[in-house]
Amino acid sequence: MNKKIIIFFVISVGLVSSTTYFGIQHYNSANSLLISTTTSVENTGLLYLIIDKFTEETGIKVSVIAKGSGVAVDLGRQGLVDAILVHAPSLEQELLDEGIGINRTTLWYNYFLIAGPTNDPANISNANNVTEAFNRIYDTQSLFYSRGDNSGTHIMELSIWKAVPDAAKDKWYIETGSGMSSTLVAANENPGYVLSDLGTYAQLSATDELSNLAIHYDEDDKLYNPYSYMVINPDKYNNLHTENAFEFLEFLQSDVVLKIVRGLVLGGVQLFTPIGE
């Protein structure tokens, strides 16, 4: 019996110490980079295509935490990541003002779109501008699904509602409090309107999950959706992998990456357009 206990302890101690080693090595490795980003960038697979090439060329291992832009920016604010890649200009600006974010570089863009029931009950497809489209949704009290999670998309949505006079949110306004895909799936179940980024919409459409929805309004200048990369200021936090973060920034602007970005097409739609094209 005692022998068994000794063996048990030896194995346990071995496991625990190897874990500690595993955990600490992750952070001490000079060859790593941790970035937080939005789910739309992760789910479309774009980032992994880029990272694989980057790791191949430089040997730097990149880890990605994918959350809504609100959380992604906040992880940067707390110095928990080396860099961020998000689409929430107002939050990015806050981080720049606080001196925590540096070298913001806008890399790609696409447009937000408004999807809704295939028969378009609020008739937004011929609206003159996005405010009018939202106004019509409000006037007809058509179901509208909001993410309600402080993500880049949610912030964009709120800024449009602000322009709609007396848009009192009532039973027709549904806050899912979850990510873009869950919100789109909810909007598809009991069809309603929803503001979405192009990437996630195309992704879900391709797997046939959005059969009750159609795109009714897009490519409005107001729905411009730029994705920017920002390095976390090493003067604010120590132990960041800032050099790697800058090396990745350089790589993001290289021709190799531009080619990858242009090549990412889903269901005939190019998901991201390099800035300036």
Binding site: F9, I24, N43, S63, I65, L80, G179
Partner: protein, 223 residues
């Protein structure tokens, strides 16, 4: 369609590293919880604590702690501005083990305490009258209660292995680093890949079943 997905999954290297990390994190956490939990369970089953309502209530509440809450607290403790911010384990398997350790230790303490409380009090007296030392008495009590304790370990492992709320917060669901079976399911659902998610679920259940079978066979053989 579903089986195609399952086959693709089973032939990919990534799924095995994900499943391996799942096992590694849960087993390490439960192992640590067992090492520390059993002695605590023994202490709390002593006569002076056995019927203490406050202690029992604390342990019982602990057994049902919401994983997301544990995740949140562990996150706040280890974030840079938190009390242990200098120990940089956030978004590593280590943080996930810490969270699951907190999640499972009340189960080990609780079942150990309950099992030991059921052992007749005069067992230790009898042993002592036969000239046993304290260590020998404790060892004999543990041997007598091994089946109950194994039940606790099985429960704890099941809870840790199937849990998602805590590890997604402290681990960050990072691909190749901290993505485990449960968080991989969440990622696939968020991509609309329901069949792939279901296939992952089947793998999770299968491993869980095998793990439980091993522990159960230990229990039965020891009866």
């Amino acid at each position: 369609m579903f089986f195609d997905n399952l086959l693709i999954l089973l032939s990919s290297e990534e799924i095995w590293s994900i499943a391996g990390l799942s096992l590694f994190v849960s087993i390490s956490a439960v192992l640590a919880a067992t090492i520390i939990g059993i002695p605590l369970g023994i202490i709390f089953s002593e006569k002076k604590y056995r019927n203490n309502i406050l202690i029992s209530a604390f342990i019982n509440t602990g057994m049902g702690l919401p994983p997301v809450l544990i995740g949140l607290v562990v996150f706040m403790v280890f974030t840079r501005n938190g009390p242990f911010g200098d120990i940089r384990i956030l978004f590593t398997p280590m943080a996930m083990i810490v969270a699951q350790f907190i999640l499972t230790i009340p189960i080990i303490i609780g079942t150990t305490k309950a099992t030991l409380s059921d052992i007749p009090v005069d067992l230790s007296d009898t042993l002592r009258s036969l000239g046993a030392t304290n260590n020998q008495i404790n060892m004999q009590i543990l041997i007598e209660s091994r089946i109950g304790i194994l039940t606790g370990i099985t429960l704890a492992l099941g809870r840790a292995f199937s849990e998602v709320g805590a590890i997604i917060i402290v681990g960050g669901n990072i691909r190749y680093r901290t993505r485990v079976l449960t968080t991989a399911i969440i990622t696939e659902v968020s991509k609309g890949e329901y069949e792939l998610a279901l296939a992952l679920g089947l793998i999770l259940l299968t491993i869980s079943f095998l793990l439980t079978s091993v522990l159960t066979s230990l229990q039965i053989r020891n009866k």
